[in-house]
């Protein structure tokens, strides 16, 4: 692989990642947003997290798969109550990874 090309690509990735992170804080900091916009922005975190998470749990090779061969889905069914009960990110991560590792060890 051409590492020089990868190097320049990474710098490009850094720029396009930083701009959307930076512009709102520079131009909106301390501004009072319209109450409607504030109410909407408040729902962005649950929306974006679910949008990234749910497809990765349900879809295997472009098909919704809920059988035991989809370990990610079954591990999530246990990781969700663990997250709810213990309110701990690390407990959730350790439980999730442990379950997936265990499932593979058992040959599921």
């Amino acid at each position: 692989m051409d590492q020089t090309l990868i190097f320049w690509t990474i710098l490009g990735m850094a720029v396009v990642t930083y701009i959307p992170r930076l512009l709102p804080t520079l131009f909106l900091s301390g501004k009072t947003l319209h109450p409607f916009l504030t109410a909407w922005l408040r729902l962005v975190p649950p929306a974006v997290l679910a949008a990234m998470l749910v497809p990765s749990l349900l879809i295997r090779e472009d098909v919704v798969t809920l059988g035991f061969d989809n370990l990610f889905f079954w591990a999530a069914l246990i990781a969700f109550p663990v997250a709810w009960k213990f309110k701990s990110l690390s407990a959730t991560v350790v439980t999730g990874m442990g379950l997936v590792a265990l499932g593979r060890y058992l040959g599921l």
């Binding site: 692989m1 990735m13 749990l57 060890y105």
Partner: protein
């Protein structure tokens, strides 16, 4: 409290992120090494891009021989959600110096955003704590990456360790902490459903940003409808 007390408090608040970032950064370092990305480039990405899911996606794209322009565009789309997160926090950052805002934004991730948004109304007076939380987070991400780079020569496969589940597990923990009321639960369900449907329809990069906008809008619509 003295500023160093605030720094310590920020680092302490970052602990759950650290415990998530070290294994995920490790998984990223291992996967990058396994896919033929040099050690320097693997480390560089964690230092200058610092966006977990985008870094995993980029490793996959580099491995499949995708061109530079497509990798950069994909990164842009996947990370565009930070625009919404930065906009959500911005009103609470009144009185911050521009250079501090610039630094704070650079280290804004899904995880740090989730923690900051839990105490958003106090952000304007807790600058040292917020920055220290961010720095601790990226430091642990970089350390995880370094460990992964070292280990990638020693580990045959990441799957028996469940490392490829680290990112999803972290999203589960963050999502549950965000679901403080019924409306947020509904928003998450709607957004997750839309994202899944869009992905199945072939929107493999834009599904996240589209589902976020639609999910938050529909959630707000449901909330207004219940109130009236």
């Amino acid at each position: 409290m003295a500023p160093n007390r605030f720094c310590f408090k920020g680092a302490k608040r970052a602990l759950p992120i650290v415990l998530g970032y070290v294994p995920i950064g490790f998984a990223y370092g291992v996967l990058a090494g396994k896919n033929g990305i040099s050690e320097i480039n693997t480390l560089l990405m964690s230092l200058v891009v610092f966006a977990g899911s985008a870094q995993f996606i980029a490793v996959g794209l580099f491995a499949s021989g995708t061109g530079a322009a497509a990798v950069i565009l994909t990164t842009f789309v996947v990370n565009l959600r930070h625009l919404l997160m930065a906009a959500a926090l911005a009103p609470y950052l009144s009185g911050w110096k521009r250079r501090h805002l610039a630094f704070f934004s650079f280290q804004l991730t899904d995880e740090s955003f989730a923690l900051h948004s839990l105490k958003a109304t106090e952000l304007w007076e807790r600058q040292a704590e917020a920055l220290s939380l961010n720095i601790t987070g990226q430091f642990s991400w970089v350390m995880g990456t370094v460990l992964g780079i070292v280990a990638s020569g020693l580990i045959g496969d990441v799957k028996p360790l469940g490392l490829d589940y680290a990112l999803a597990a972290m999203f589960i923990g963050l999502l549950v902490s965000q679901c403080k009321d019924k409306i947020r639960v509904i928003t998450a369900l709607v957004s997750g459903g839309i994202a899944t449907a869009l992905y199945l329809l072939g929107f493999h990069q834009f599904h996240i940003i589209l589902a976020t906008v639609l999910g938050a809008s529909l959630g707000l619509g449901v909330e207004r409808w219940i109130k009236h």
